[in-house]
């Protein structure tokens, strides 16, 4: 695991060298602000909480995470640097972890850069700090799951566009599992235990409790387990 740190550093710094990463984070922050203020009616809700912001995170992540991760492996594969990477004294696990952690750190910074909203609610009223903390914690954990899945999708192909579309689709399915309509539909089509089992994998309902100030052990473990699973599968895919 010694090689994780240097690789992480290199990859992390890479984000700041690439103009694309700046564009992504600006788009992310702008869409968060616009969605919160307009469709979310943050100001009209007259409530000093970040709920309106948090409820859009799963949807914004749906575009952001694939955008950040699409080049993670696909680019290396296409340009051939992949071969080079593995000539280094570096195991696949180290490589996967290093790259993932760098992406996660970058994503976390982007999430935390929505801090002006925190200042805004503190200025406007007396917010309850518990839900703000759990909301951000949940968003970071959920972001990790998104990124791990996107990293897997990127490892499956050498084309960035395909990687993007694939990650988007997987995350979309995981997101839609939490919507009432889809749940009802599954309930009628599938045997109840299967429908029940599948709905356990929903991003939306797993994030719900964190969004309002609860720290449910089950939901936190879910994000971690899903992330570990996706990373382990990435290792499998890349392993020769």
């Amino acid at each position: 695991m010694q090689q994780v740190k240097p690789l992480f550093k290199r990859e992390f710094a890479g984000y700041f060298r690439s103009p694309v990463a700046y564009v992504f984070s600006v788009v992310f922050l702008a869409s968060a602000a616009i969605l919160t203020f307009f469709p979310g009616q943050f100001f009209e809700s007259n409530e000093a909480s970040l709920r309106t912001l948090f409820q859009f995170f799963p949807w914004i992540f749906l575009l952001m995470a694939p955008a950040i991760c699409m080049r993670l492996w696909a680019e290396e594969k296409r340009s051939g640097t992949w071969e080079l990477l593995f000539t280094l004294p570096l195991t696949t696990v180290e490589a996967v972890l290093g790259k993932f952690l760098a992406a996660w750190a970058f994503f976390t910074i982007a999430i935390l850069l929505t801090f002006p909203m925190v200042v805004t609610v503190a200025y406007l009223g007396t917010p309850d700090w518990g839900p703000i903390f759990t909301g951000y914690l949940g968003a970071i954990l959920m972001g990790g799951s998104y990124l791990a899945i996107c990293s897997l999708a990127s490892a499956l192909t050498r084309n960035q566009v395909i990687a993007f579309v694939l990650s988007f689709l997987i995350c979309l399915v995981l997101l839609f599992l939490g919507i009432g309509l889809v749940n009802d539909l599954m309930g009628t089509l599938l045997p109840w235990w299967l429908a029940e089992g599948i709905s356990q994998f929903s991003f939306l309902s797993r994030y719900e409790a964190l969004m309002i100030g609860l720290l449910p052990v089950g939901d936190i473990l879910f994000f971690i387990l899903l992330g570990l699973f996706a990373l382990a599968t990435t290792v499998l895919v890349l392993e020769r």
Partner: protein, 622 residues
């Protein structure tokens, strides 16, 4: 690695993921980080869930898909939903929560209406629902509408509904009183012959009692309480026999709920002809339990007196008839949180002696303006003199409260000696000297408030009788009765402290601009009204003439002038209303722009710095 090996490993990984996720979904641990632990069910609620035997089904109706639902209501509804999820989680298989979105013109909407839910109209004309039906087998309880203003009572309302839906029989309440609550008032002897004199209409409070309980009246001369009582109400009691007092004492110590209303000065007794005592104070009981109540002190409030018209046009303010407003009532307790104004008539006040293992939750407290008068100094013929004798003390005085905890018996030496006919009485075989279960005593230091005379008007119309409360006394009575009828665990339920998370800055701005424009706004609105009246007058004159009357040129001109003025005034009004909103709109714009730009600017700066640093590094010769 070979492809088959990879595939097998993948399948193994997937299987373990599915297994683990299924397991963790049943993990009950969670931490509630909200202020007030909003989503943590209180112990009483948990106890109610524990007791469910047959599955209880909750249908939560929430019009989620109505797009114009005010954001505040939406957040509120989602909080209820999350709380219900906690019930479901805690109740395991015994409680099922179904969230239903009753869209317009669907079967769900019809069911909501049929169940008795109140849809509320939105400005767009759509109807939205936010209510709940709780069912067990064929009983059901309905919460027609969750009121956002009573957010602190949501848990209480849900738990009460779950508790009540499981109730098959009405509990039994013993009533020990010298007041004609159940039988109604006997008219005075000289009025008995009069036509239409109303003989014996039970008090409205009796209706509340009978709604929740099977009621059994107990005579003050009895020596025992009936065996199977679930609750006891002792209201302005007559002199109790020693043995009966001991029975009441033991009833409380066993942990059964007792409602006690005592009175230092019964107004009702002054007016009655049936020998109601003018004072009630089961001194031995109260004193023994550790409650100090001075039966000679009548409490009042100089700042919140009741104004009484003496019938000759003279109005007196009577401080010993305090008008109890919101600020005197406990806002966080379900008994008083939805009350607005009460009238107590010559009440007393009490304290719980320190050192007892008792917990007092005040329900009605007088503060600034409070004071007292010795009861013998009250001159009912001369309210002004009484008022002059009133001594203002301005300290907190508790007029009503709930006392819970481990009571000590008022009979430390055990049961009293048997009465005159020892043969008729069974001796006490066992007794308690200290509460067995936590005792609960609701104590109100006044009894007159229960009387119809001081709380409501009865209207008779075409043979039907209807009550019209003129204050909230009736509802206090109903709340107390409902509370007594709940299961023991429900009584520990409190309302949560209300949280205000609204935008204080916006409220301040609103108030400021309102102040700035109020005078102008009123002037313009008045002017508009005037102009409209003038216009109407002209039209009316014309209408009276059957519309055939042609308008004189002057009238036509006047109409035109008025219409023009109307338009101008309306324009000005619009401008002011816009100005009123302007500050707030501009705040919104500013905040939006800040949120939109601050972080991107920060990122760009960082990027620029990073770029410059790199360039310097690259260009600096080594």
């Amino acid at each position: 690695m070979k492809t088959t090996a990879k595939l097998v490993s993948f399948l193994l990984l997937l299987a373990s993921l599915v297994m683990l996720v299924t397991i963790i979904s049943y993990l009950p641990w969670q931490k509630d980080l909200t202020d007030n632990r909003r989503y943590t069910l209180s112990e009483p609620s948990k106890a109610i869930l524990e007791r469910i035997e047959e599955p209880v089904e909750i249908q939560f109706y929430y019009s989620r898909s109505v797009s114009d639902l005010p954001p505040r209501l939406r957040n509120f509804a989602e909080r209820i939903e999350m709380l219900l999820r906690q019930y479901e989680r805690q109740g395991r298989e015994r409680l099922i929560v179904q969230v239903i979105d009753p869209r317009p013109d669907t079967q769900e909407e019809e069911e909501a209406l049929r169940s008795g839910l109140q849809g509320f109209p939105l400005p767009t004309g759509e109807r939205a629902f936010l209510g709940m039906v709780v069912r067990q087998a064929d009983t059901e309880e309905i919460i027609p509408f969750f009121d956002p203003a009573r957010e602190n009572l949501i848990e209480y309302r849900i738990s009460t509904a779950i508790d009540r839906v499981q109730r098959i029989e009405k509990p039994k309440l013993g009533l020990l009183t010298s007041l004609p609550i159940l039988s109604g008032e006997e008219p005075p002897p000289w009025a008995q012959q009069q036509e239409g004199s109303q003989n014996g209409t039970p008090w409205a409070f009796a209706d509340s009692l009978r709604e929740y309980f099977e009621v059994e009246e107990i005579s003050g001369e009895a020596h025992r309480l009936p065996a199977d009582l679930d609750a006891l109400a002792v209201i302005h009691p007559p002199e109790l026999s020693e043995n009966l007092a001991f029975a009441v004492d033991q009833f409380l110590l066993q942990g059964s709920p007792v409602f006690l209303a005592v009175d230092p000065s019964s107004q009702y007794a002054q007016r009655s002809f049936t020998g109601v005592p003018s004072q009630s104070n089961p001194t031995k009981l109260l004193d023994g339990w550790g409650i100090d109540f001075d039966e000679d002190q009548v409490t009042g409030d100089r700042l919140h007196p009741t104004q009484i018209d003496d019938g000759r046009g003279q109005v007196f303010s009577i401080p010993i008839w305090p008008t109890i407003g919101r600020n005197h009532l406990n806002r966080d307790h379900p008994l008083t949180s939805d009350l607005e104004n009460l009238l107590l008539v010559e009440p007393g006040h009490f304290t719980v002696r320190a050192g007892r293992d008792l917990n007092l939750t005040p329900l009605i407290t007088l503060g600034e303006g409070s004071g007292f008068i010795h009861r013998t100094l009250i001159d009912h013929q001369n309210p002004a003199r009484t008022s002059n004798r009133f001594i203002r003390t301005d300290n907190d005085k508790i007029l009503a409260g709930i006392i819970q905890g481990s009571f000590r018996s008022a009979f430390p030496d055990g049961p009293p000696a048997l009465g005159e006919n020892p043969d008729e009485e069974e001796p006490w075989s066992e007794w308690l000297l200290r509460s067995e279960n936590e005792g609960l005593l609701i104590l109100v230091a006044d009894s007159d408030w229960i009387a119809d005379d001081f709380s409501l008007q009865r209207l008779r119309f075409m043979g039907r009788s209807e009550i019209r409360p003129f204050n909230d006394n009736f509802f206090l009575g109903a709340n107390i009765v409902e509370f007594l009828s709940g299961s023991r665990s429900l009584m520990g339920l409190r309302g949560r402290a209300a949280e205000d998370r609204s935008f204080e800055v916006v409220q301040r701005l609103q108030a400021e601009s309102m102040e700035r424009y109020q005078a102008e706004l009123t002037r313009l609105e008045e002017r508009l009204q005037e102009v409209q009246n003038n216009l109407q007058e002209i039209q009316q004159k014309r209408g009276e003439a059957g519309g055939r009357l042609a308008l004189t040129p002057e009238q036509q001109e006047a109409i035109l002038e008025f219409q023009e003025e109307e338009a101008t005034v309306r324009g000005q009004l619009r401008e002011i209303r816009q100005a009123l909103r302007e500050d707030i709109e501009s705040l919104k714009r500013t905040l939006f722009v800040i949120n939109l730009t601050v972080s991107p600017i920060l990122i760009s700066l960082l990027g620029a710095m990073y770029y410059m640093k790199r360039r310097r590094k690259l260009t600096t010769p080594k």
